[in-house]
């Protein structure tokens, strides 16, 4: 087997192993980064929703208290404010969603659907759990969701949600007496669920992965060609020439043209040594002839 073939087989083997390991590590890293990015987006959105809730509770609600005596203003409800803020956001980012999914909500639009119900049930069964992170398939592709429990931690929530008699009359006028009552202090009544699409970040990570692999392969190919050329011109060609001269000398053609290699590397030293050996052989043969 020729030296260049041996060399190339070893090189390709190393390349294949290196590429596989690099692909495995980078794909895992990119996927993790993409998921982390999506999760980070989800957390930012969750915090934005919480900020909207706090702002509404602390600043908007007191301003609307008098108005509420005449007509119920959903704008004073933190959950309503957070949802409306997100609905506005969704005009530009349609695949993002936020819902205060509640088992027994006052506003019917907050009622849980099947998969949200499962999340709320999990949170109710594990009250110590701060959040649930998961992925699910949607009509527009894979989405990551982040869910946090809605727990009744303040007695201030109870006037509107304990009994019909305690609730503001204007609220009953708007939503009726059937829903949103019977909540208890410290009970988990629902979950704040932020859903963020993964399609785009995943596609971006896949594109990055492809570019990385193609770039790595291109670098390998460039190195492969370069090394082959270097191997041929620096090692294989001079050695082949030396072998041809050695063959002719061994067959008795002592006048065969010499072979000289410029430089001070090992091949040049070998060529020099060979030439000295041939000169010695020619003189020895001449002395034998005399």
């Amino acid at each position: 087997m020729k030296l260049i073939i041996k060399f190339n087989l070893v090189f390709l083997l190393i390349f294949a192993v290196g590429l596989t390991i690099a692909a495995y590590i980078s794909r895992d890293l990119l996927e993790r980064n993409a998921r982390d990015e999506v999760l980070q987006n989800a957390r930012i959105m969750m915090e934005a929703a919480l900020a909207a809730r706090t702002y509404t509770s602390n600043q908007v609600r007191p301003l609307l208290e008098t108005q509420m005596k005449y007509e119920f203003r959903p704008q004073s409800v933190p959950a309503y404010a957070a949802t409306e803020q997100f609905n506005d956001l969704r005009k530009k980012f349609v695949d993002y969603s936020y819902k205060e999914a509640t088992l027994n909500p006052t506003n019917p639009r907050d009622r849980v659907n099947d998969w949200e119900g499962d999340i709320v049930t999990q949170l109710r069964q594990n009250p110590e759990r701060a959040e649930i992170i998961g992925e699910r398939e949607t009509l527009t592709g894979r989405a990551l969701y982040l869910a946090r429990p809605i727990q009744i931690k303040s007695e201030a929530c109870l006037p509107c949600h304990s009994t019909v008699d305690a609730a503001p009359k204007t609220m009953i006028d708007l939503y009726g007496p059937a829903n949103g009552f019977g909540w208890k202090l410290n009970e988990i009544v629902g979950a704040q669920i932020v859903s963020v699409p993964m399609t785009l970040p995943v596609k971006r990570s896949e594109d990055t992965f492809k570019v990385f692999l193609i770039s790595l392969t291109a670098v390998f190919a460039f190195i492969f060609v370069g090394l082959n050329l270097m191997l041929y011109y620096i090692v294989i060609w001079p050695v082949t020439k030396l072998a041809q001269v050695a063959d002719q000398v061994s067959l008795g053609n002592l006048e065969a043209p010499g072979f000289s290699v410029k430089g001070k590397d090992e091949i040049a030293a070998l060529a020099g040594s060979f030439e000295r050996m041939r000169t010695s052989l020619v003189q020895a043969m001449k002395m034998l002839g005399e």
């Binding site: 301003l63 008098t66 108005q67 005596k69 005449y70 007509e71 009359k169 204007t170 006028d173």
Partner: protein, 294 residues
């Protein structure tokens, strides 16, 4: 029961209370939008923001105008949609402070620093007594509606002549209606029609402007002697309210136009007959005196 001397002393006390109350600033006009007409004594003024108000002042505003009166004791009264107010002052020594009101919309409230003196808002068919309460009144020609936002109030039915009849306590969140065709009725919620018709800003707390208005204190601008039209609603008000107006506007009866209108509408205020036609009563008095002499 008080004897004749006792009654005279009580009347003298009331006169003293009234005299001390009149002429003294009891509040300030802190909002005066859309032109405000002030009748003080028998003279008409135009008033703007920062004008100090006295007991006895009568305020009238245009249909799109708005007036806010902030009293020295912390009570606040906002009038709009053509309503009129007449500051009657204390109804008895240390008693309720009376404010007579004419058709329009009124919101009353109080500041946290209020002394909590009771006010009595007298409408054509009902009067509402409240201290440290907030509410909205819709006053019609022959109806009165009251929604108590917070606190508590007592609503008393009034007859056409202003005589009090049955009363009822109304608590925060309740709505009371009294009309010529309906006795006083209280419901747990205001009607949708009432809420829809109510001025939008009444849904919010009334802002307090008195400190700002004090820095921009102003005097009312004298316009002319009061015309009949300017005081007509009060001259035709229930007897219990208008009883002192004869003395107040006696001098105006000399004005031919005012006199003409008084005569024209004499049926609505017959007490003016004695002022307008004293000769009729002079004959009666002389006969009585002669009879006594005999």
């Amino acid at each position: 029961m008080l004897g004749r001397p006792g009654r005279l002393e009580f009347a003298a006390l009331l006169i003293c209370v009234s005299a001390s109350a009149f002429g003294q600033a009891v509040g300030m006009l802190t909002v005066a939008d859309g032109g405000v007409v002030l009748v003080r004594g028998s003279t008409t003024y135009t008033a703007g923001q920062g004008v100090a108000l006295q007991n006895g002042d009568m305020l009238a505003l245009g249909p799109k105008g708005q007036v806010q009166i902030e009293f020295e004791d912390g009570a606040i009264l906002n009038l709009t949609r053509g309503s009129r107010a007449w500051l009657l002052g204390p109804q008895s020594p240390g008693g309720e402070i009376g404010v007579a009101l004419q058709p329009g919309w009124v919101k009353f409230t109080w500041t946290k620093a209020a002394k909590g003196r009771p006010y009595r808002y007298i409408m054509p068919l009902a009067s509402l007594s409240a201290a440290r309460a907030t509410g909205v009144l819709r006053i019609g020609e022959s109806s009165a509606e009251a929604f108590i936002e917070s606190g508590a109030a007592r609503l008393v039915e009034l007859s056409r002549t202003g005589s009090p009849a049955a009363g009822r306590d109304v608590k925060g969140g309740e709505f009371a209606v009294r009309s010529a065709a309906q006795a006083l009725a209280v419901s747990p919620r205001p009607s949708a029609e009432f809420i829809k018709a109510m001025p939008g800003y009444f849904r919010d707390d009334l802002p307090v402007f008195i400190s700002r208005a004090r820095t921009a204190k102003s005097e009312p601008t004298r316009e002319h002697e009061a015309t009949y039209a300017e005081v007509e609603p009060w001259l035709k008000a229930p007897t219990s309210i208008r009883k002192h107006l004869v003395e107040r506007f006696r001098s105006r009866a000399k004005d031919p136009q005012f006199r003409g209108k008084l005569i024209e509408n004499l049926a609505a205020h017959p007490e003016w007959d004695r002022i307008l036609f004293p000769e009729k009563y002079k004959e009666g008095t002389e006969k009585a005196e002669k009879a006594q002499t005999r």
